[in-house]
């Protein structure tokens, strides 16, 4: 072999290293194609008082200071943090007006994705829920109201019952004669969770969101008399005081899972799937496993937290039953067990199996459910809407005479009290909110959670960023949201002539469809608008 000069040798060694299977780096051995920025950043230099606050606020380091603010438009994700924090309000972050020739089939997003994959050979990631323009069924359902023939109820004057009990209900109750003329309950009731309003917080793990964000949610749950959910990240020491209203999750990675963890919570949730990424697992990259995250997940600092796609002890409904009862045994049957699944085509039959496997609560996560990170292709193309899932599951469980055995929580794209009321009318006992709670903390839905650089301090572990959330203030905002939706729900119930939310549950007769195709209405069990009782 001829002698090579040193430079050539080094270059060759470098080239070899690039092509050797290296699992730690993306294959960035290609010069990237030009891809225009999504946003352009501008400030009014006349009004700018040169305080540099915007530069410090940007989690993505899109802004820098050289005599004045300079923007790297390509790095700007449009989170609007700088804009909100600018004392002069002189910043405008706007969509890039630069224009490619429109194409009805090849959207600019499709084009950009192809360029990026040509550059990297990688799976595209995203955050938050499905943003594809599928029809939103909630927006095509309208609620009934009382007129003349049945009186409405004034929630300002009359008591309204929003209290909800989640868990297995008995088929019938038997009573015994108690002392004197009193009656005593003979039937042994299964444990139920009492919530003051039919809202719970969606699972969001410490690791995917910051500790102050999770704490704000936990405090809001305690204040509102509802539940929060640890997600698959264990229970942080600081959140122990809120364990009594926590649903503790057991998922495929079993992070932070042990008997004490089960017994600390109000209920245990087995996570099978998530609406944003049905059928796949999750990877929390090692760089986000800080000392504190490591303590909560009970894994070494810097270690990747890989959650396999399935739980490897669950390959069937029988296996699920085995885990449900392993948890019931570990908690001495004192805690309801919830099973969370993504809404998929066969959801009704699966839910029936889950109830028969012994679950007390089923959490149905529609395909618009949020996520800290998911492959875009999975998020945007797998699963079905929660509206359909909850309607068909409720119907199936009723037909089989087992609806009383489990409560249903509807999640994945609940944006308002109207969505909540409609979900309950379609058959849910309660709804779960994740994205809405984060919006109340300041999130602007930039969908870049997976980068871990959230300028709002939500989806990040960088202490510089996380301290932007004051849990007390955050909790107040989230609790306000819950209060507002509850008050609106009371208004809706009053208009419907109902004084308890449980009277609305599964009351599809109080819904009508507008501009929805007949087959979808059929599946929902809802009549078209204009058709009377």
């Amino acid at each position: 072999m001829p002698q090579l000069d040193l430079d050539t040798r080094d270059a060759l060694a470098g080239a070899e290293a690039e092509f050797a299977p290296d699992h730690t780096r993306p294959r960035a051995d290609v010069v990237p194609l030009y891809s225009p920025p999504e946003f352009v950043w501008r400030n009014d230099t006349e009004r700018c008082r040169r305080c540099k606050r915007c530069v410090m606020q940007c989690g993505w380091r899109a802004l820098s200071w050289q005599d004045r603010v300079g923007a790297d438009h390509n790095k700007c994700v449009g989170c609007h943090r700088c804009e909100a924090m600018c004392p002069e309000k002189c910043i405008v972050v706007a969509p890039n007006p630069q224009h490619y020739k429109p194409h009805a089939l090849w959207s600019v997003t499709h084009r950009k994705n192809v360029w990026k994959q040509g550059d990297t050979g990688g799976v595209l990631l995203t955050g938050m829920g499905n943003d594809a323009p599928y029809q939103v069924i909630f927006d095509h359902l309208v609620l009934d109201a009382c007129q003349v023939t049945n009186p409405s109820i004034d929630p300002l004057r009359e008591p309204m019952e929003l209290r909800t009990f989640l868990g297995r209900k008995p088929e019938r109750v038997e009573l015994d004669a108690g002392p004197g003329s009193a009656l005593a309950l003979k039937t042994r009731l299964d444990p139920n969770l009492e919530i003051a309003t039919p809202i719970v917080f969606a699972p969001m793990s410490y690791g995917s969101i910051s500790l102050p964000a999770q704490k704000a949610i936990a405090m809001a749950a305690a204040e509102c008399g509802i539940l929060w959910n640890t997600g698959e990240g264990g229970l942080h020491e600081d959140l122990r005081p809120y364990a009594h209203c926590a649903v503790v999750q057991c998922a495929s990675g079993r992070f932070g899972v042990h008997a004490g963890y089960f017994n600390a919570g109000a209920a245990v949730e087995i996570k099978i799937g998530q609406g944003a990424k049905p059928g796949i697992g999750g990877h929390l990259p090692g760089e986000k496993v800080s000392l504190e995250v490591s303590q909560t997940r009970m894994i070494p600092v810097g270690s990747d937290a890989l959650s396999p796609a399935p739980q490897h002890d669950i390959y069937s409904i029988e296996d699920l039953r085995q885990l449900i009862y392993a948890i019931k045994e570990a908690t001495d049957y004192a805690k309801p067990v919830c099973v969370k699944i993504a809404a998929v085509h066969n959801v009704a039959a699966i839910a029936s199996g889950i109830v028969r496997a012994g679950a007390d609560i089923i959490y149905l996560d529609g395909f618009r459910g949020g996520t800290g990170a998911a492959p875009t292709v999975i998020r945007d193309h797998l699963g079905i809407p929660v509206e359909i899932a909850v309607a068909v599951v409720d119907e199936r469980l009723r037909q089989e005479g087992i609806r009383n055995q489990a409560s249903l929580i509807a999640a994945g794209g609940i944006r308002s009290s109207a969505d909540m009321a409609k979900a309950i009318a379609l058959g849910a006992d309660a709804v779960a909110i994740g994205t809405a709670a984060l919006l109340a903390l300041g999130c602007t839905l930039c969908q870049k959670c997976y980068t871990g650089r959230c300028s709002w301090g939500i989806c990040t572990q960088d202490p510089e960023l996380t301290r932007r959330i004051d849990p007390l203030v955050g909790a107040r905002r989230i609790a306000n949201l819950v209060r507002a939706w509850s008050a609106e729900l009371e208004e809706i119930l009053g208009a419907l002539g109902l004084n308890a939310v449980e009277s609305l549950r599964g009351s599809k007769e109080r819904l009508r469809g507008l501009d929805v195709d007949p087959s979808t209405l059929d599946v929902l069990g809802v009549k078209p608008a204009g058709v009377g009782a």
Binding site: H23, G122, P300, D304, L306, P308, H312, A330
Partner: protein, 245 residues
């Protein structure tokens, strides 16, 4: 104390075990066990439980502290997500042994089935150890994040390899030791490095093998005289390069 498990539903049997544990019982002997699940599940105290007969699935799930000795075969999901304690099986054990275990020890005299040691993980002083005296089937040590897996192949089925296929897929922490050779094609060889066990490995192994030999009355020296093979993860980020930046 002794509990006769004959004809008892698992719920009743386990309630009695929990009662005994709560009452401070040091040693519990279970007679006539016949498929009852969840024995030792979630028990968080140091108590000895001797199982005579064949326990059902999820033996010692989520447990933290007890020593459970099975004087016979065990079924599936032994030591599921266990946190601490010791599980000893004098016969064979089934599938999904030690799934997600974070601490403690599982010693199996005979063979184990599929999906064993998946997602074992270590945390601080908690280093889970799973020693298999015989052979293991497919998917051993998948997604392994920490801890130690040892496969001795002492009493394996004749003609069977030490381990089945797809061993160590997604492994990103911990160690796997085999007494003998392993065909790289049976492993996720792009995720692991396979090498003959060196000095350091053997030092670590000795402690585990000695404990195993003591438990089952075998000769540790003889077991250790054979060459061992070590599997270590090639990367702590097995899927790091899969995603677009």
């Amino acid at each position: 104390m002794r509990i006769d498990a004959q004809g008892l539903h698992y719920r009743e049997l386990n309630a009695r075990i929990r009662e005994a544990v709560a009452a401070g019982e040091e040693s519990i002997e279970l007679a006539n066990v016949n498929g009852q699940r969840y024995i030792g599940d979630g028990v968080e105290r140091q108590v000895r439980i001797d199982v005579h007969g064949v326990p059902g699935n999820d033996l010692g799930a989520f447990m933290d502290g007890p020593t459970v000795v099975v004087h016979g075969n065990a079924q599936d999901a032994v030591g599921n997500t266990m946190n601490g304690g010791t599980l000893v099986v004098h016969g064979d054990a089934g599938d999904v042994i030690g799934y997600g275990m974070r601490g403690g020890k599982i010693l199996v005299r005979g063979d184990v089935g599929y999906r064993v040691g998946i997602h074992m993980k270590a945390y601080r002083a908690q280093v889970p150890v799973l020693v298999v005296g015989g052979t293991a089937a497919d998917f051993l040590g998948e997604y392994m994040a920490g801890g130690v897996l040892v496969v001795l192949g002492l009493n394996g089925r004749q003609g069977h390899p030490l381990v089945g296929d797809y061993c160590a897929t997604g492994m990103h922490g911990g160690m796997i030791y085999f007494r003998g050779d392993v065909d790289p094609s049976q492993t996720a060889d792009d995720h692991v490095t396979i090498r003959p066990a060196g000095e350091d490995d053997l030092r670590q192994l000795r402690a585990y093998v000695e404990e195993y030999a003591r438990e089952f009355g075998l000769n540790a020296k003889a077991i250790l005289s054979h060459p061992f093979t070590t599997l270590v993860p090639s990367s702590h980020r097995p899927y790091g390069g899969k995603y677009a930046a």
